[in-house]
């Protein structure tokens, strides 16, 4: 079995809105292994994005702990690179190349010449070589997302955190981005944690699926989806998995429609 990279023990997360103290997740346990495509799936309001933010170090659990390679996560760091849902995560004042170079420059993880080489290589991997001197405002949504992924991967983080990265894309672009992500994973075998509310996306992209129940988020199930991807999306196993997750999420009252 592959070694454990990230471990969450009894994580309870709360945040304040101007009027309420919201409990996002309650006593969540999970562990991500090296090379996992670990998907957190749940309906909106199950605290899945909040959970990912906690792994990113942007908030602290009120109870429990999250550890990466045995060290407790206290603050954001470049070992956990995050790809957000919004397109505005790129710096509009930097070109595609400079955007990809920026994290390597500020963290000084690579010497300058190596950083430039890596930036070039990773931009080529996401097929944006022709656009490397272009500013983000001239790119389409899908291209911006590819730059964000390239920027995160160039730094070679321990784990890549993706918060519904394809949710704002149109259906066709989303499909091709999912395929590209899987193709990249096949080449590089990085570890990725991926948040989504789409059952189909979870099965296609994920190798392990953590199903959360809503209000507050609690672990409902952890499933193995490593055998299912685009090549067998029309097979009965795929449909069965989809129905199983559907039943887990929506419980008995929807069983008739799911069956």
């Amino acid at each position: 079995m592959t070694p454990v990279l990230l471990e969450a023990n009894g994580v309870t997360l709360q945040y304040k809105t101007p009027r309420h103290l919201v409990t996002a997740t309650y006593k969540v346990d999970f562990s991500v292994h090296q090379g996992d495509r670990y998907v957190i799936l749940g309906p909106s309001g199950c605290g899945k994005s909040t959970l990912l933010k906690a792994v990113g170090g942007f908030m602290q659990p009120v109870e429990g702990s999250i550890r990466i390679r045995g060290h407790e996560i206290k603050e954001p760091g470049p070992d956990r690179m995050m790809v957000f849902q919004e397109f505005e995560q790129l710096m509009p004042w930097k070109t595609v190349f400079e955007n990809v170079l920026f994290p390597m420059k500020v963290t000084r993880k690579f010497v300058p010449s190596e950083a430039r080489e890596r930036a070039k290589a990773v931009i080529e991997k996401v097929k944006l070589s022709n656009f490397q001197d272009v500013f983000p405002h001239m790119l389409s949504g899908g291209m911006k997302m590819r730059v964000a992924i390239a920027r995160a991967m160039a730094l070679e983080p321990d784990i890549l955190l993706m918060d519904e990265p394809f949710a704002a894309l149109d259906a066709l672009t989303r499909r091709s981005m999912q395929q590209e992500l899987l193709a990249l994973w096949d080449q590089l075998r990085f570890t990725v944690m991926f948040v989504t509310h789409s059952i189909e996306e979870a099965i296609l992209v994920g190798s392990r699926i953590l199903v959360l129940s809503p209000h507050p988020g609690r672990v409902r199930a952890e499933l193995d989806a490593s055998a299912l991807d685009f090549s067998n999306a029309d097979r009965p196993e795929f449909g069965a998995m989809s129905k199983r997750i559907h039943a887990l999420l929506f419980g008995d009252e929807h069983k008739d429609t799911a069956a």
Binding site: P76, G77, P78, M81, Q89, P92, W93, P103, T107
Partner: protein, 294 residues
């Protein structure tokens, strides 16, 4: 509303496929604009046309009025302007004004940077700065001039003080608004790579808020220039080497209206130059290039 129940009615419309129709009649799909079209689309040309129309109106009205004490013609004004430039008086006065302005503007910007950096560090800092800007931004700088004269005496320090006052709050307010409107995602992606403190402000917040900061700098510049000319008009008399306001004041005392006009013309020309050359160039290289402003 009619509801179609039978599927037959949907099938009555046949499907079809065809080759796209011949579009060659429209000529090139992308046609370069003609020279005349391009010239008139040029913003500089449009602005110049507006200026020429204004000048023509001025000249015609002044000639019709025929009273150079009340309203000298454009040619007369330009004649005086040229004369005073050649004998060096106007250049001297302008340089004096611009030197004072540059010192005040630079100090104002530096203070604004300092204040806003402290303000973004904490909630309390933000509150303090918003209260200060709310108090002092509406206060006309010129109203502080009597006070400044008591504190700093006659001369440049008093002028610099009022200029700083007019620049500081406008720039600080705009910068703070800019910092606050930086998208949360952009902030998080900055913190993600471990940026903190001054590096975070310098590498993420300032460039992300640059459109607002630049707008603040433009407003601050206009306030400073206005305040300076006004201050020189009121108290420049006592200053040994007067600026452009003093030049205007002197000419008015001599009832030399053409010279007053030439002083005003200088103020306008410098304003136009700073706005449409300096700030325009900064915009073209930054916010326009980055697509943060059209």
């Amino acid at each position: 509303m009619t509801v179609l129940h039978d599927m037959d009615s949907a099938q009555q419309r046949p499907e079809f496929e065809q080759q796209p129709s011949d579009a060659s009649a429209i000529g090139d799909v992308e046609r370069p604009l003609s020279l005349v079209e391009r010239v008139f689309n040029n913003e500089g040309v449009q602005r110049l046309t507006i200026l020429l129309v204004l000048i023509a109106a001025w000249e015609l009205y002044a000639r019709w009025l025929n009273n150079s004490l009340l309203f000298p013609t454009f040619t007369e004004t330009v004649g005086t302007f040229w004369h005073d430039i050649r004998n060096g008086v106007l250049i001297d006065r302008t340089v004096t004004s611009l030197r004072t302005l540059a010192i005040g503007y630079a100090f104002g910007l530096a203070l604004a940077a300092l204040f806003t950096t402290f303000a973004v560090a904490s909630e309390t800092g933000t509150r303090i700065l918003s209260t200060l800007t709310a108090m002092f931004n509406p206060l006309p700088a010129i109203a502080l001039l009597p006070l400044a004269l008591i504190w700093f005496g006659l001369g440049t320090p008093s002028l610099v003080f009022v200029i700083i006052h007019s620049v500081l709050w406008a720039v600080a307010l705009n910068t703070l608004i800019g910092f606050r409107s930086v998208p949360e995602t952009l902030r998080m992606s900055g913190r993600n790579v471990g940026l903190k403190g001054a590096r975070y402000v310098g590498l993420i917040l300032i460039p992300a808020a640059f459109p607002s900061i630049l707008a603040g700098m433009k407003i601050g510049w206009a306030f400073a220039w206005r305040t300076l000319v006004a201050a020189e008009l009121v108290f420049g008399v006592s200053s040994r080497s007067g600026g452009i306001g003093w030049y205007i004041f002197e000419a008015r005392n001599d009832l030399d209206t053409a010279t007053v006009f030439s002083g005003l013309l200088t103020v306008i020309l410098i304003g136009l130059f700073v706005e449409s050359v300096i700030f325009r160039a900064i915009e073209a290289r930054t916010v326009n290039l980055w697509g943060m402003q059209r």
